[in-house]
């Protein structure tokens, strides 16, 4: 459709009449946004949840599509199959605002709900009913997050959703659209600001000579032409000697990256590693040559951009501990030491203004407009309106037409077999945050959840002789760990689930590192493991 962001706003959620939540454990990963979903349901909206686990939201859902991990394309194509065979598509929208519809029609007609039931485990009638409800409700909104993107076929999954949206014309007005819930506080802004090998700030392609010329004029330095490495390419570059130095700012790849033992081997081969962080985390302790003590969010000025593209102020409240410095100051010191010719940046606002001058859709976002509540990009003109929902009146992709991308199902990279009979999926819990360097330090919260645990069905647990709370060993082709069995009907037989928060028992010792070929997102959601009783 032409924009990498949620199409609609958080406050609009409560007025949606149909909500389709797929691959998002919203109440745990985005608890405050989930309040809007709860409110919509309380206001009478219909909720359908597609997730391999019986997550909390399924309590409110009219229907839980409990699909097997990695079969999203089957489910979505079969929903589109239903829409097309029953004539529920929005012909006017397809004609006026989209391209390549026929290619999708041809493919999805081969994905019948009955066949989808065999592959995904979701009843054909449930697929049909959900498709009908979605297509026939104008204020129908889709929410997804890493449950659907953290697959080797992550991009296919998003294209499937996008096809579904375009086919029904659920785009470009209030309380509808396709909404990616960003996992971390500033993922949206990190990409918007150009921390990306393919894009300069504002999603301006680095391979476009005119764009590079524009940045050259402002920066006074040529922008390198050679394509940079994505994260997964940097990680593989550790092993084949393409990458010899890493500068990590607030990153802990020895815990957060898949196949963590392999990552550590690679980190050990580096010639030079800098870690700029607030804690001495695992990667830094073992591999850093230089550690630069940096600032937490409470010690700096600037902006974060949330999942609905709202740019909000971050303000300095507390003094830095000891001799630590703000990240902005550290990066400026490094630039000076490396001989870069930068202007003075006396404050965060001066940096922001340079970004906003160079990025057309951010041009009108200035600090004086976001002192109270933030505003939502695009804001192309100073003093002009912001954009609570995208793609109105037509999709943003030139020339105002959304593109259908036909998608075929691909099997997950690693499927269970006799040696590793269970599927492992991973995620986050309410009480912790990623590698938990912050939240494991809150005793009031770890009271609720501290010990490494994994979820397993009662059938699998009894077959293995595991009782509630028993310590078990999880083994994959890449590593093993121990965790307490949490027997629960949240997972079905054949599936186990573990959170990524535990530094002592890292689930990423088990996950594999084959990523989506196009964008490099790792497949955290499907690995094959076996579970044994711990001695």
């Amino acid at each position: 459709m032409g924009r990498g962001a949620s199409t609609n706003s958080i406050p609009e959620i409560e007025n949606a009449r149909f909500l389709f939540v797929i691959g998002s454990n919203t109440t745990e990963a985005h608890p405050v946004l989930a309040l809007r979903i709860k409110k919509a349901v309380r206001n009478g909206a219909t909720l359908v949840v597609a997730d391999p686990r019986k997550i909390w939201l399924t309590k409110l859902a009219k229907r839980h599509l409990q699909l097997r991990p990695g079969t999203d394309v089957w489910l979505l194509n079969a929903m589109m199959h239903t829409i097309l065979s029953e004539g529920l598509q929005n012909e006017d929208y397809i004609r006026e605002f989209t391209e390549d519809f026929d290619a999708v029609r041809e493919i999805v007609m081969r994905y019948s709900p009955e066949d989808a039931e065999k592959v995904s485990g979701v009843a054909a009638e449930d697929i049909r009913a959900s498709a009908r409800e979605y297509a026939s409700e104008r204020h129908a909104a889709i929410f997804y997050t890493l449950g659907i993107t953290e697959h080797a076929c992550g991009v296919d999954n998003i294209w499937s959703l996008s096809n579904l949206v375009l086919m029904t014309g659920h785009l470009g007005y209030e309380s509808t659209g396709l909404n990616a819930l960003r996992g971390q506080n500033n993922v949206q802004g990190l990409n918007d600001s150009g921390a990306n090998p393919s894009y300069l700030p504002g999603y301006q392609p680095v391979d476009d000579p005119e764009v590079r010329q524009k940045f050259f004029e402002r920066w006074g330095v040529e922008v390198p032409e050679a394509t940079g490495y994505r994260l997964d390419q940097m990680m593989s570059g550790l092993h084949d000697d393409r990458v010899k130095a890493l500068y990590l700012i607030g990153e802990n790849p020895a815990q957060t990256e898949p196949n963590a033992h392999h990552v550590e081997e690679g980190l050990g081969k580096l010639e030079f590693l800098i870690s700029q962080d607030i804690f001495l985390q695992d990667t830094a302790r073992k591999y850093a040559d230089v550690v630069l003590p940096a600032s937490s969010f409470a010690e700096k000025d600037g902006t974060f951009t949330n999942t609905e593209r709202r740019i909000s102020r971050v303000r300095e409240a507390s003094p830095l501990p000891g001799d630590a410095k703000g990240d902005r100051e550290i990066v400026i010191l490094m630039a000076k030491a490396l001989g870069a010719n930068w202007p003075e940046y006396p404050d965060a606002e001066s940096v922001w203004n340079e970004l906003a001058d160079l990025a057309p859709n951010w041009n009108g976002v200035r600090y004086d407009r976001i002192e109270e509540n933030g505003i939502q990009w695009p804001v192309p003109e100073i003093g002009g309106p912001d954009t609570p929902f995208l793609h109105a009146p037509a999709p943003a992709r030139p020339p105002g037409k959304g593109k259908f991308f036909p998608v075929e199902y691909q099997r997950p990279i690693e499927e269970p077999d006799s040696e590793y009979p269970l599927v492992l999926s991973t995620g986050r819990t309410l009480y912790h945050y990623n590698s938990a360097t912050m939240t494991m330090r809150e005793s009031g919260i770890t009271d609720k959840q501290e010990e490494p645990f994994f979820e397993i069905s009662a059938d699998d647990a009894s077959a293995l002789g595991l009782a509630q709370g028993d310590l078990a060993r999880l083994v994959s082709r890449r590593g093993e760990l121990e965790a307490a069995a949490h027997i629960s009907d949240r997972v079905f037989p054949g599936l186990v689930w573990m959170a990524l928060h535990f530094a002592e028992q890292k689930v990423n010792w088990l996950t594999h590192d084959v990523a989506d070929p196009l964008i490099g997102t790792p497949e955290f959601k499907v690995s094959a493991v076996r579970v044994e009783r711990a001695a």
Binding site: A226, G228, E251, P321, L338
Partner: protein, 374 residues
């Protein structure tokens, strides 16, 4: 306090949020003036549009109309008795009086509540009942002999409850049921024994409670409060507030960091109804997971790995020089492409902008990415 939050509720910036406001405007009489509001709006909000702030205690705009405490009653012409403004809706031609004899009733009601209000604010949180007593000139005529209610201990370290501050308005229980939609708190007992308890008499850690602290954020008297070991000795109004954006998930909740004015350390986190996108709601991490900021494990000086393979404290000059020399060496030996930058969603837009600029102009590579690129 009430006036301010009511004002906010009546002028929400996102007009699309409140569908009820799409109704046609109707005229009504408010203390002798002819004014208008959307048909069906609650009287308390309709009056706030015109600068009349009716006192309330059990009302919260996040919750369903309740009409429990009767503090907000107004005279409605033709009605057989005073009507609760928080649970009665505006109709065409309604004639309302908010400042006549009805204020005597409100003063008496406040005095009755004060006569059982043994502890004004155990955790230093704001107390709307005392604010209202001030405004109305109400004082406790006596303390009722059976006012003392039994306290209970709970092993959670985040939130405490003092029944002697509780006026049983049920806002906390309604918040758990209507907003969180979980079973966490209940009203137990009757009369002098009544108090708020975790559901089924369990600990707060063992109910469906997610420790979001929503109950304490809606409590009008501070009866539910942050149970921190330090910091809450100082009342909330004596703390400094700095508005910022939460550092956890991508929702971007707006929060106020409440600082001890001397140490500038964060004492607690609060939010307000008029903040977007969260409208005053927070989760367990947003409200309680801030101690990492002042944790003793924080890095406080630069470190450089020595010949002995250990990290040693050093000066900034030496650390930056070592870092720059190390990077330059790799560029000379292997080219700029051999240097990778991994930035973070923990950082601000401005910091991320400078980091990509450093990669591109300081080293000469486009290899800048992060683990949160999805």
């Amino acid at each position: 306090m009430r006036a301010k939050s009511l004002k906010a509720a009546a002028s929400r910036p996102h007009s699309l949020v409140r569908r009820e406001y799409d109704h046609p405007m109707v005229e009504f009489t408010l203390d002798g003036r002819t004014v208008s509001a959307p048909e069906g709006e609650l009287i308390v909000h309709a009056a706030a549009r015109h600068g009349t702030f009716i006192p309330t205690l059990c009302h919260d705009s996040k919750l369903d109309p309740y009409g429990g405490c009767r503090m907000c009653v107004v005279d409605v012409e033709g009605a057989p008795r005073p009507m609760p403004a928080c649970a009665t809706r505006i109709t065409e031609g309604m004639v309302l009086s908010t400042n006549g004899p009805i204020t005597d009733f409100q003063r008496t009601l406040t005095e009755m509540l004060l006569s059982e209000h043994l502890n004004a604010s155990p955790g230093g949180r704001p107390n709307e009942l005392l604010d209202m007593a001030n405004e109305l000139g109400a004082e406790a005529p006596l303390i009722l002999p059976d006012a003392k209610r039994e306290e209970y201990a709970d092993r959670n370290q985040l939130m405490g409850y003092d029944p002697d501050a509780c006026i049983l308005c049920n806002r906390c229980v309604r918040y758990t049921q209507e907003v969180m939609q979980c079973s966490a708190l209940s009203l137990e007992g009757r009369g002098g024994e009544a108090r708020i308890v975790p559901t089924w008499g369990l600990s707060w850690l063992d109910t469906e409670c997610e420790l979001c602290g929503g109950c304490l954020s809606v409590c009008p008297t501070g009866a539910i409060y942050e149970k921190f070991e330090e910091g809450t000795k100082r009342p909330e109004h004596a703390l400094e507030q700095v508005r910022t954006t939460c550092t956890f998930c991508g929702v971007g909740c707006q929060i106020d960091l409440n600082l001890d004015p001397e140490t500038k350390h964060i004492v607690k986190v609060t939010s307000k109804d008029e903040y977007l996108p969260n409208e005053g709601n927070l989760c367990v991490k947003g409200r309680f997971a801030f101690n990492f900021v002042h944790h003793p494990d924080r890095l406080t000086q630069p470190l450089v790995r020595g010949e002995d393979g250990e990290l040693h404290a050093t000066t900034w000059e030496h650390a930056i020089e070592t870092a720059a020399t190390g990077l330059r060496g790799v560029v000379e030996r292997h080219g700029a492409q051999a240097v990778g930058f991994l930035s973070s969603a923990r950082l601000t837009n401005e910091e991320n902008y400078l980091i990509q600029k450093l990669a591109r102009t300081g080293i000469g590579t486009n290899s800048v990415h992060s683990c949160e690129s999805t």
